[in-house]
Point group: C2
C-alpha cells in the first residue's frame, strides 16, 4: 500500500487557508515529497508528521512557490536529528539552486545528494526500494519543468503446489518467493518456477505548472491516481491559462480522459479562486472521476486484492 | 501615531498555530518589517495587509527562521506590481545572503537596496521619513545579531502668540511651523522663534536571538514598547537559555526593568512551549508591564497628548 497526502493546493502564493501545492507519499517506511514551497513544513506538521523522515524530494521546477520552503524544511530535519542522506531530484541547475538557498542553512548533519535531470524522460529506481521506480518527464512551462510518476511493481502470486512439486524443503520456499535463486542437492531452482506472472502494481502521476502536452498523456497513461494542476476553474479562462503557461480545469480533465487514468485530483489553484468545487460539475462531464483537491486530502492506495492476502 | 503588529511569536520553526517572530510597523504610509521567516507573508495576508507596501526590512540576523520567508515575500511584492525600491538592513553579509536567496526570484520589478551594518551601534535616518530614526545595536547570539530601536521625534508646540508678535503675515506661519526659515521685508525668521522645545516622541525597541547584554539595556532605555525574545518560560530554564544563546522570560523582564521601558511584549517562544501565558504571574513580579505576545497582537501608539491636537 501507498499512503498519499496532498499537503497543499495553492499556486503562486501561500495563503493562511491554502498551503502551496506539494505531495507527500509514504511507502514501506520511505517518504517522498514532491515540491516544497513556503509553508510545506507547516502543512506536514499540521498533518501530525515530522519532516525528519523525508528521504526523497522531487522538484518539478525552481519557481519560488515550489522550492522556497526547502531551507526551512532542511533546518527542521536537522533539528529533528536526521543523519541519513536525503536525495533531491530536479531539472538541471539543482545543485546550484540548492547550494544558493543553503546560504541560510550551511550546516546540516546529513548529506544532500543532488540528482539532476537532463533527458526528456528519465526512469530511475527509487533509492533503496527496488519495487518502486520513478519516471521524470519534461512538460511545458515557462522554465524547464518535470512531471513525475511513481510506479510500484507487484510480483506474481506464489504457487505453493508448484513449490511442493519441486521437492524442495519448505524453509527454502521463501527464498524463491523473494526472488532468490536457490541451489539444493546439486540442482538450481529459479523463482519463476514458483511465481506466477507479475500482477498489476500501483501508479501515481503528479503534474504541475505546465500547459497540456503529449508527454503528460504518455506518462500518466494507466495511472491509478493522477494529480494535475488546474490554475483556473472559470469557463473561458483558457487564454489566461495559455498566457501564464498553466491549465484550466477542463484542460486537465481532458488529459485525464486521454491518459485513461482511474482518478484525478486537481490542485495548484490561482489565489483568486476561493471555491474550486463550484466548477466540478462541468469538469466531471469531461472526466467523471475528477475531484477538486483540498489541503490535506489523503488516500491509502492498495493493490487490487491486497486485503485478501 | 505608529501602528504596530507582532505578526508571529514563534522561534526555530513555523507552526500552524504560531508564525515565526516578525514585527510590522506602519507610520505615515511607510511600512517596516523586522525579520521575515517562512510564513511571514501569510501572517501579513491573514491580517488583511498586502506585502506590496513594505518599504524597509530590518534583519536581526541570518538564521533561517528569521529570513527564510524573504524570497516568497519578494515574489509576492512583485506579483502585486511594486515598483518602488525596498531598503534592506542587516549585519555584514546582507548582500551575499540576499543575493543567494534570490536564485529563485531573479527578476524583480523593483530595486533592492542593501545596507550592511558594521559598527556596534549605528543610527540612521529612516528612508524618506525625517522624523524617524533607526538605531541598530549589536546583541549577543551565536552569530552577529542586531536589535533595533525605531524612534519618532516630535517637534515642540507652535506658539501663535509669538508668531503674531513677529508681525509676519499669517500665511507665512505654517512655513516656520514646518521648520522652514523665512525671509520677509529684509529680515530672517527662524522656526525656533515660534516653536516650543521638542516634546517626547515615541520609541519602540525590538530584540531577539540574544543573551541578556548591556547594549540591550542601553538602547532600549526609555522605550514606550520593548519587544523582547523569551525562548523559555519555565522556571530553571536559564542553563538551556545560556546553552542556546537565548533568554528566559525572567531574564527579559529584568532587562525591561533595568531599561525603564513602559511596556514589554515577549516573543520568539520555543516550539515546545504551548502556553506562554502560564508563566506570566511570575514574570510580572519582576516587571509588571510584561505581556506575553501573541500572533497578530497589535497596538496603535500615540504621542502623549496626540488626541488633543
Amino acid at each position: 500500500m501507498i499512503d498519499i497526502c496532498l499537503l497543499g493546493t495553492g499556486g503562486m502564493m501561500p495563503l493562511h487557508y491554502r498551503w502551496l501545492t506539494a505531495l507527500f507519499v509514504r511507502y514501506n517506511g520511505r517518504n517522498t515529497l514532491i515540491d516544497c514551497g513556503e509553508g510545506t513544513q507547516i502543512a506536514l506538521r499540521k498533518k501530525g508528521w515530522s519532516p525528519k523522515p523525508v528521504d526523497v524530494i522531487l522538484f518539478t521546477h525552481y519557481h519560488a512557490d515550489h522550492i522556497s520552503g526547502l531551507p526551512g524544511m532542511l533546518l527542521s530535519m536537522a533539528n529533528a536529528d536526521r543523519t541519513e542522506p536525503v536525495h533531491l531530484y530536479g531539472p538541471k541547475g539543482l545543485a546550484r539552486v540548492v547550494g544558493s538557498l543553503r546560504v541560510i542553512t550551511p550546516d546540516l548533519p546529513f548529506e544532500l545528494v543532488c540528482h539532476e535531470l537532463n533527458e526528456a524522460v528519465e526512469t530511475f529506481p527509487y533509492p533503496g526500494e527496488e519495487e518502486m521506480t520513478v519516471t521524470a518527464f519534461r512538460v511545458s512551462h515557462s522554465v524547464t519543468t518535470y512531471g513525475y510518476s511513481l510506479s510500484l511493481s507487484r510480483k506474481g502470486r506464489f504457487d505453493p503446489e508448484a513449490a511442493a512439486g519441486l521437492g524442495l524443503p519448505k524453509p527454502m520456499w521463501g527464498r524463491l518467493q523473494h526472488g532468490e535463486t536457490v541451489e539444493y542437492e546439486g540442482k538450481t531452482y529459479t523463482p519463476d518456477l514458483v511465481m506466477g506472472d507479475s500482477r498489476k502494481g500501483l501508479k501515481i502521476t503528479y503534474v504541475t505548472d505546465t500547459r497540456p502536452c503529449p508527454s503528460i498523456v504518455e506518462n500518466a497513461a494507466g495511472s491509478d491516481l493522477f494529480i494535475c494542476e488546474g490554475m483556473y476553474g472559470e469557463p473561458d479562462s483558457e487564454d489566461k491559462a495559455r498566457e501564464h503557461r498553466h491549465m484550466t480545469f477542463d484542460e486537465a480533465a481532458k488529459l485525464a480522459a486521454n491518459a485513461g487514468v482511474k482518478e484525478m485530483w486537481l490542485t495548484h489553484y490561482s489565489p483568486s479562486m476561493t471555491h474550486p468545487d463550484q466548477y466540478m460539475d462541468r469538469v466531471k462531464k469531461i472526466f467523471p472521476e475528477a475531484k477538486a483537491g483540498k489541503d490535506g486530502k489523503s488516500i491509502v492506495m492498495r493493490f487490487d486484492d491486497e486485503d485478501e492476502e
